[in-house]
């Protein structure tokens, strides 16, 4: 309506301060007035206000660059609003920025004539004011179903548009009361934003021009000495701040900040100009508090207008405004940086004015607020104290008295946790220290470093934490040993600070620290308060699971004594003592991972057992104890100690941690060896000894499983004997030491299991158990020439052993599949006795039946390590043989007892002869039996011994039977087989050689068994030595006539060099008795001498038909020579 500038051309008049002016209110938004022409506002108010705040408004900043403001707060008021009315016209300029930004004209009309005659002139009147930004909203009341009304409304609106829209700008939009479309609102918003932007631009321009004008004037000499400086200045201030404020209102904080910066610069220029000295210190109540972050601290606009403002207030105000904007812009570090600069600069000024001292003396508070800013400012005071204190006003002595009284009577501020304590005196040493450090730091670098470090440390938007931080660093130092008293004083403050800042983790940590302080520093009630605070937080709704280090509060240690030793894979139970420093009982929901049961910790020592899962080898110390109190997961680091904390005795940093658990690498823990490796008596109950030797590991509760296998039977009716074992070496070593009592214990064996007694768990023991080697076959005698190929393995039995043991003989261990077992193989010879049947002399048995007398030489070889007492011996001959004389074949009785020393031989001679005309078949099928009745005297520790008596009264005499096969000599040869000499001189490995045999009939054929022309022959050769190139078997036709002969040739290749049996020709269909062949032909002497002489020509002429069957050997040399060796007859 009114053009202010036009109305008041002289700005100075306009700017005259007015006492009734109210201060800025900060909840002021840009708003749009609603010119409610047709009484529609109430109908549309709700839907209009729903559009607020204006979204995505595009405004121009001071540099005329578009800036998008996400949410522009705005408000609709009617033109009839009292806020618009109440202003004096003069004021409206200064508060121009509060004038409406847009005018919305709400109209409706249903008739064209009415529009023309009434509405249009009225609208023209309203919008004629160029200063205002306006637009028209035509409200159509027509219901969509009412066609005529709709049509009319359209017509009127078209007319309205034609009248008020210009080419440049459309100022009309149509609002349908019944279902407005989305397009309307977009239209509405854009028009609204257009209006606001235009208004803002225009006003900014205006202010800028004004400011420029004033600034120019300020530097003219006239201006400087102008009496109206203050006035000018305040107007300048006003203009600038108005601008800033306007920007701020429009959410253009950046621009607003710039304005404030300019304002500050402007101010400092003017305030430092000579000739003007402004009052500095504050005089009002509360002036002793810093108001650096509180722009509304004082009604500054008011006092600026009144020209009574003081530098102290103004500077703080400017800084507060800047800080506020910076916080809004999320640049807290800049606040800190500026704050630092401000504090430094300001404290210099402060020092000049020595304000604080006076404030302390005559201030209204009991003490200057212990805020970091104040203290930092204080610490900037130059030292030493000023030579002269500023004079105290003469009438203030009574005030000082009152003040001092107040200080003396002042009650201590109540701290958190209801701690009552005298506060530290004002001497701000803590903060002085902090400030000193800052100063030192900054004197080296510059402000930018502060930025960097602040950014680097993640001080994002939390600059308010800085007092917290400084206190924290102080605490860190104080936590070191010895400063507990000091800590007790400061820590509650920190805790309070953390609580206010809802720094839960820090707060909890502080509580824990408080609790862990020496209990004498706080009363029990206070300590209980700390604890309840922890517990309360632990069970409260914490956003995050807060980890808490309670190392100082909950301590733990393994029990005294040697560490628990386990082997790799052993589970175990570790007992741990836990000390709780909480004054009350505290529920720990869990301790470590494995302990599921909840446990309550009393103050003091609590013994808690942990099950340890199998660990890797190594030595372990107690690490960290973790647990849970409510939602609080706490963790305590290890202080491995043997008892309660005894810090007075040892320096903590020198204390080595003591391992509580040692887990060994897998190694042999026990050794089981057979005590004796010796032959045992067959079919007799004999002791087998096992040496069980634990190797640095307790076998306590160990169970020994013995599985002897099929051919060894453990007599479970007998008790197992366990005795101490000392090796010979130990015996000799401990010769002069008192000999331990030999301990023998008999324990039962059940299902092949023995439970080791406890005393045997750590010492080497000898376990004797009785076994019986079972062999139902009868032993056979053998001749030295053809020893039975009885390898030592054949005579051995294997015993499978398994020992289950472990540290804990408890249920867990037994049920667990995890047990260390040992399998030990025990090898025992059981071979009893060998009997060799030795034909005496070189005669072989020929001759006529009944006339041949020979002596049978029996050699007894004892293979047991015990002497045998042969008590009787007799030979039951097979048919076809008989003893010479009347006897039954017993040697002379004075021969007995014959003692056979261990591993020695004894020979006995039997004289026998052939008898009867027994059928040769029968002769072949029966054996002679040698019976030996003997006793044995041995020790089980060395080998065989007399059998364990199963029943009392068992005879100690043992019986041994062995079968001997005697063969009759060839008495009636029909065929002779002879080996013919080689055609070549020598045999070589790999060289073909023809083997020739001659078969000759010695008798003409009467015998039917060998009648017929066809005789089957078979070549028998060891395939490892010979390769036979031709047929191995075949038939030869040999005439029945006496003397008929036949040669058989087989080509062979010798495969190995040395003495080898030659291939042999056999006639399987012809009974042995009828061939001239037999074992008695002992011609197995070799001819090495002849070979040594360079190879003997295969001795020819050996066509004796007594071909060798077993006794001849060939010497074959692989490279140089091969000699066919034939034994001389």
């Amino acid at each position: 309506m009114a053009n202010y500038l036009a109305q008041f051309p002289d700005h100075q008049v306009l700017l005259r301060p007015h006492r009734r002016r109210c201060m800025f209110s900060y909840n002021w938004f840009p708003f749009a007035t609603v010119e409610d022409v047709s009484d529609l506002w109430l109908n549309v108010k709700e839907s209009f206000e729903r559009r607020l705040p204006v979204k995505k408004a595009c405004l121009n900043n001071k540099a005329r660059n578009p800036v998008f403001v996400e949410n522009l707060p705005a408000e609709f008021i009617q033109t009839t609003d009292s806020r618009l009315r109440s202003r004096f016209p003069q004021e409206q300029y200064l508060f121009w920025f509060r004038e409406p930004y847009a005018t919305v004209v709400l109209v409706t009309c249903e008739d064209l004539d009415e529009f023309k005659t009434i509405l249009k002139p009225r609208l023209k009147l309203i919008v004629q004011n160029d200063e205002r930004e306006w637009f028209i909203v035509f409200v159509s009341k027509a219901h969509p179903s009412n066609d005529q009304a709709t049509k009319m409304a359209k017509k009127v609106y078209a007319r309205l548009e034609a009248d008020f829209n210009t080419k440049k700008r459309e100022r009309c939009c149509k609002f349908d009361l019944h279902g407005p479309d989305a397009e309307f609102w977009d239209d509405f918003d854009s028009k609204m934003v257009d209006c606001i932007r235009n208004t803002l631009d225009r006003r900014v321009q205006f202010y800028e021009e004004e400011i420029r004008r004033l600034s120019e004037q300020r530097f003219t000499p006239i201006w400087n000495f102008c009496n109206f400086f203050i006035l000018k200045h305040s107007s300048h201030f006003y203009l600038q701040e108005s601008l800033a404020f306007m920007f701020e209102m429009s959410n253009l904080h950046e621009d607003s900040l710039r304005e404030y910066d300019e304002l500050e610069l402007c101010y400092s220029e003017s305030v430092n100009s000579p000739g003007k000295h402004r009052e500095f210190g504050g005089l009002d109540a509360g002036d002793d508090q810093a108001a650096l972050l509180n722009p509304g601290f004082k009604a500054l606009t008011q006092i600026v207008q009144d020209d009574v403002f003081r530098e102290f207030e103004f500077r703080q105000y400017i800084f507060a405004c800047q800080a506020k904007l910076l916080f809004k812009l999320s640049r807290p570090t800049e606040v800190a940086a500026r704050g630092y600069a401000f504090v430094v600069a300001f404290s210099k000024t402060l020092a000049l004015h020595e304000f604080m001292r006076l404030a302390y003396l005559i201030g209204y508070g009991a003490e200057i607020e212990k805020s970091p800013i104040n203290s930092a400012s204080l610490s900037m005071l130059p030292w030493p104290k000023p030579a002269t204190w500023p004079s105290i006003p003469p009438d203030s002595s009574s005030e000082i008295m009152a003040k001092e009284k107040m200080i003396l009577q002042a009650k201590s501020r109540e701290k958190l946790f209801n701690i009552h304590r005298k506060p530290l005196p004002l001497e701000p040493s803590l903060l002085l220290r902090e400030a000193n450090r800052r100063r030192a730091f900054l004197s080296v670098g510059n402000i930018s470093e502060l930025y960097d470090t602040a950014d680097g440390s993640g001080l994002d938007g939390n600059s308010k934490l800085s007092p917290n931080r400084s206190t924290s660093s102080f605490i860190a130092r104080t936590m070191s040993e010895g400063w507990e008293e000091l800590l007790a004083d400061v820590l509650p403050d920190l805790a309070e600070c953390q609580k206010i800042l809802s720094d839960e983790a820090g707060y909890l940590a502080s509580c824990v620290k408080l609790l862990s302080l020496d209990s004498s520093l706080f009363s029990l009630k206070e300590r209980q308060a700390f604890q309840s605070e922890v517990v309360r937080l632990a069970h409260s709704e914490m956003k995050h699971l807060v980890p808490l280090d309670v190392s100082s509060l909950i301590t733990f240690a393994g029990n005294a004594g040697p560490p628990l030793e386990l082997c790799d894979g052993d589970p175990g139970t570790l007992s741990v003592a836990v000390w709780s420093g909480f004054p009350d009982d505290i529920m720990l929901e869990s301790l470590s991972l494995r302990l599921s049961a909840s446990s309550t910790a009393d103050e003091g020592r609590n013994i808690i057992s942990f099950d340890i899962p199998p660990q890797k080898p190594g030595s372990y110390v107690l690490g960290a104890l973790t647990g849970q109190i409510g939602k609080l997961s706490f963790r305590s680091h290890g202080f491995s100690q043997d008892g309660p904390v005894e810090t007075d005795e040892f320096m903590s940093f020198e204390k080595p941690t003591r391992p509580v658990l040692k887990v060994r690498k897998p190694r042999a823990l026990v050794d089981i060896t057979p005590a004796v490796s010796s032959a045992l008596l067959m079919n007799e109950l004999q002791w087998i000894g096992l040496i069980v030797k634990p190797i640095d590991y307790s076998l306590k509760g160990g169970i020994l499983h013995i599985d002897a296998g099929a051919e060894l039977k453990i007599e479970e009716s007998q008790m197992i004997e366990i005795e101490n074992y000392r090796s010979d070496m130990e015996h000799s070593c401990s010769a002069d030491s008192p000999i331990e009592a030999e301990r023998v214990e008999k324990i039962p064996i059940e299902n092949g299991k023995i439970k080791l007694p406890d005393w045997a768990s750590d010492v080497t023991t000898l376990v004797w158990f009785p076994v019986r080697a079972i062999d139902n076959t009868i032993a056979r005698g053998e001749t030295p020439a053809s020893p039975q190929k009885q390898s030592i393995v054949d005579g051995m039995r294997m015993i499978a052993l398994k020992l289950e043991f472990g540290v804990f003989h408890n249920q867990v261990f037994e049920s667990s599949a995890y047990c260390t077992s040992l399998h030990e193989h025990l090898v025992n010879a059981y071979v009893h006795m060998h009997v060799f049947l030795v034909p005496m002399g070189s005669r072989y048995w020929t001759g006529t039946m009944g006339t041949m007398i020979d002596d049978l030489h029996v050699i007894l070889c004892s293979e047991v390590k015990a002497s045998l007492h042969t008590k009787d011996m007799w030979l039951d001959l097979q048919s076809g043989f008989e003893h010479l004389g009347k006897g039954d074949g017993r040697p002379a009785s004075n021969l007995f007892p014959l003692v056979v020393a261990p591993s020695s031989k004894a020979g006995i001679l039997f004289i026998i002869r052939l008898s009867g005309t027994t059928d040769s078949d029968e002769l072949e099928n029966t054996d002679s039996i040698l019976n030996v009745k003997y006793g044995i005297s041995g020790d089980r520790t060395t080998g065989a011994h007399s059998p364990v008596p199963v029943n009392t009264g068992d005879s100690e005499e043992l019986m041994f039977k062995i079968a001997l096969k005697l063969k009759r000599p060839v008495l009636d040869p029909c065929l002779a087989v002879g080996f013919l000499p080689f055609s070549t001189d020598c045999l070589r490995v790999g060289q073909l050689v023809n083997m020739k045999w001659r078969v000759e009939r010695l008798k003409s054929h009467e015998d039917a068994s060998i009648s017929g022309d066809e005789i089957l022959y078979q070549i028998d050769a060891n395939p490892q030595n010979w390769m036979i190139a031709g047929r191995k078997c075949g038939h030869i036709s040999l005439s029945n006539a006496h003397g008929s002969r036949m040669e058989i040739t087989v080509t062979c290749v010798p495969l190995v060099s040395g003495y080898v049996h030659p291939p042999q020709l056999g006639l399987p269909e012809v009974g042995e008795a009828k061939q001239t062949s037999g074992p008695e032909r002992r011609t197995a002497t070799l001819a090495p001498a002849s070979l040594a002489s360079g190879g003997m020509k295969a001795s020819g002429g050996c066509v004796e038909l007594m071909g060798t069957r077993k006794g001849s050997y060939l010497f074959i040399e692989s490279q140089t020579r091969v000699a066919a060796a034939r034994s001389p007859p």
């Binding site: 530290l424 803590l430 000193n436 040993e481 010895g482 000091l486 320096m651």
Partner: protein, 143 residues
Amino acid sequence: MIVCVAVVGHQNNPLYLQSFTEADDALKLHHIVHCSLDVIDERVNNPKRSAPTLNETFLGLLYPTENYKVYGYLTNTKVKFIMVTTDLDVKDADARNFFRKFHAAYVDAVSNPFHVPGKKIASRSFGSRVSTIVKSFGAGTTV
């Protein structure tokens, strides 16, 4: 008048802390001593400042508070001696002298075979000796 003396170990753990005032301001003096440790650290760790006094155990005036002056002394084993005095004009020589005596007393105290290094000095004779030194310091300045 000396109001407080302290021996602080090399880990900033107080070994001996004794105030000589009637008033109940032990904690305050505690506080002052504690704060002075920072100044000592700063001096020791800042080569620029400590360069001229590299081999000097006497650290001089650490910092002044409103009513006190704090002097420091650092031994080769990084044990700190701190003295808080209310005298506002203390001659450096006096302070140096005081610390030398104090140091000697400390050395004697820790030479006691029953003293555990790094632990608080509990010796009563050390205490009485220190108070004698403290008293003589006051006397020395007045004379």
